[in-house]
């Protein structure tokens, strides 16, 4: 090789090396910049727009991304298993979770969305939809009729049929959501919005400086007994203080709005109705290591009473036995009893035994679990119950042992639960 040819080859190779170095550097910088980009939208209105857009397009991933990190962190890890179980039981279309809303053939979209936002302090804002429409048509994937019926019973809302045109004036529905700033950007908060729906709309905005502290429990083993002790004491403040403050930021912030009323109601319940609930016996097992544990109730023995009913429930880790007596009836008479075992979705709950006053709480046992599985998390040496993780973990554990043939029974029980909160029209009036 001549000296000139060798030099040209050297320069060509050097140019290639320089290009490759530049590509390596730029590529790495691009990844790092993308990874450190602010998570969320630049303002509350944009956060709402992102969420509405994702929902309209049936983009479950996008909707999850639009949630605050602390909320989606509690939800997302459970979704693959939950969706998989619901699909196995035929309660969701097997094609994909997201094909129902948008999917191939669907073209739902939000058009002309306009919002106004009001600062609520502490990086929280209320976003009101002032204009815009949800238009297009539903995706072609049919939801099972029973699932559709359950949605109607639980919410009163009829899902449009596959392929049906949709045209909803979002402003006319006075849509209002709450957004929070987390991870450097704004996100539409599911829990803030739910809490906002529950609290009195004419009342003051959440008095955040007075929000109580998260206290938690000393150990994972104490978390469930602490919960029951707080319930037994009708100590709502203590009850809420056991919940994970990051995940339930909305609950903590809004507590000053409804805690006094709840305490007044509890006091009246004791004084006027003679309600009494001595601390129950609660034994638990704890699974796992590290900062997140699973807590299961293995034994439970409790009795509560008011002027009308005295109810005792004993749970041995498998079955719950309910005993009911009239408080001022014959103390020697045999109590009415009802037994319900975990995994049983066939037997409806007998409210004449479990007591109608607490039916909104006890109806859930019809889903085949006397008690939820508690997911507890450690923070600064204290242990907190994660409500979202607990509910999703319990739901997955309810679904796992069921066969597709039992799915209808489960929906029957779920419909009964829904009716305790939203009585069907035939009984609502009388």
């Amino acid at each position: 090789m001549t000296r000139g040819a060798a030099a040209r080859a050297w320069w060509a190779r050097s140019a290639a090396v320089a290009s490759a170095v530049a590509l390596v550097t730029l590529g790495s910088v691009a990844v790092v910049v993308a990874a450190n980009k602010d998570d969320g939208a630049p303002d509350p209105g944009a956060a709402a727009e992102v969420m509405f857009g994702a929902l309209a397009r049936g983009d479950a991933l996008g909707a999850l991304e639009a949630l605050p990190p602390t909320e989606r962190r509690a939800i997302a890890p459970y979704l693959p298993r939950l969706v998989s179980e619901l699909q196995r039981l035929g309660l969701l279309p097997a094609l994909s979770l997201t094909g129902v809303l948008g999917g191939t053939g669907g073209d739902l979209r939000v058009e002309g969305l306009t919002t106004s936002s009001e600062d609520w302090g502490q990086e929280t804002a209320r976003v009101r939809v002032t204009g815009g429409r949800l238009v297009g048509r539903m995706g072609p994937v049919e939801l099972p009729e029973r699932t559709r019926g359950l949605v109607h019973d639980a919410t009163g809302f009829d899902l449009p049929a596959p392929g049906e045109p949709v045209d909803v004036d979002l402003a006319a529905r006075r849509t209002s959501v709450l957004a929070v700033k987390e991870g450097g950007g704004w996100h539409l908060s599911l829990y803030q919005t739910i809490v906002d729906l529950v609290v009195d709309p004419t009342g003051p905005r959440p008095a955040r400086p007075g929000a109580p502290a998260a206290i938690g429990s000393n150990t994972p083993e104490e978390s469930a007994p602490d919960l029951w002790k707080a319930i037994s004491d009708l100590d709502v403040g203590r009850l809420f203080s056991l919940f994970d403050g990051d995940e339930q930021r909305a609950l903590y912030q809004a507590q000053p709005l409804f805690l006094p009323a709840l305490r007044r109601d509890a006091g009246r319940w004791v004084e006027d109705e003679g309600f009494g609930f001595p601390p129950p016996t609660v034994e638990v097992s704890v699974e796992g290591t590290g900062p997140e544990r699973i807590v299961r109730i293995t034994r439970f023995d409790a009795k509560w009473r008011d002027r009308l009913d005295t109810v005792r429930v004993q749970y041995n880790g498998t079955c719950a036995l309910w005993e009911h007596r009239a408080t001022f009836g014959d103390p020697n008479a045999d109590p009415a009893t009802f037994q319900h075992c975990d995994g049983d979705v066939t037997t409806p709950i007998d409210t004449s035994v479990t007591g109608s006053r607490t039916h909104q709480l006890t109806a859930w046992t019809g889903l085949g679990r006397a008690f939820p599985t508690f997911v507890v998390r450690e923070r600064n040496g204290r242990w907190f119950i994660s409500p979202t993780r607990s509910v999703l973990q319990t739901l997955i554990e309810i679904l796992e042992p069921l066969t597709p043939a039992q799915a209808g029974l489960l929906l029957d029980r779920a419909t009964e639960v829904a009716h305790t909160f939203r009585p069907p029209p035939s009984t609502a009036g009388g």
Binding site: R3, A6, A7, A9, W10, R13, A16, V17, A20, V21, L23, V24, T25, L26, G27, S28, V31, A34, A35, D39, A54, R57, G58, D59, A60, L61, G62, L64, E65, R72, R73, A76, P77, L79, P80, V83, S84, Q87, L95, S96, L97, T98, G99, L101, G102, G103, T104, G106, D107, L108, G139
Partner: protein
């Protein structure tokens, strides 16, 4: 021959990664966006999270392999290329088994990644053991002096 196959596989892997991988509602996400979403919503943790992050570095890693090859560091080039191919296989398999509607692109990426792994393994096994003190190319002035 193996070099050409490897370059073709790497190009196919890269092209497939830019094609839609997952469909959520009416929204399509390519291989990078799918990985970013998985990281953001934290459905991957532990080693899977590290692999997903590594997947985002595939373009610079391929450039690194090309850089190593051009500097005569053939063994390093094949190691990096093989690692990228393995990443492609693992990430594509994870996406195909996730409860999300996926397209054929991850399958193509997985196959291209597999071909890259095979090329790299074959070439690494066929390469002679480097002599002690062996180094890369030099400036022609040094060679000819």
């Amino acid at each position: 021959m193996a070099g050409a196959l490897a370059v073709g596989s790497a190009a196919l892997l890269l092209a497939a990664a830019f094609a839609p991988w997952t469909v959520s509602g009416t929204v399509e996400r390519n291989g990078w966006a799918t990985a970013t979403s998985a990281l953001r919503i934290e459905v991957v943790d532990g080693p899977a999270r590290l692999l997903t992050i590594a997947w985002l570095f595939v373009p610079p890693l391929l450039a690194l392999a090309a850089l190593a090859a051009s500097l005569g560091r053939v063994r390093l080039a094949w190691v990096v290329a093989g690692a990228v191919g393995a990443l492609g296989v693992v990430v594509a398999a994870a996406v195909r088994t996730a409860p999300l509607a996926s397209t054929a692109a991850p399958l193509v990426a997985g196959l291209a990644g597999g071909a890259l792994v095979l090329c790299a393994l074959g070439m690494l096994l066929a390469l002679p053991t480097p002599a002690p003190g062996a180094s890369g190319p030099h400036h022609p002035d040094e060679v000819d002096a």
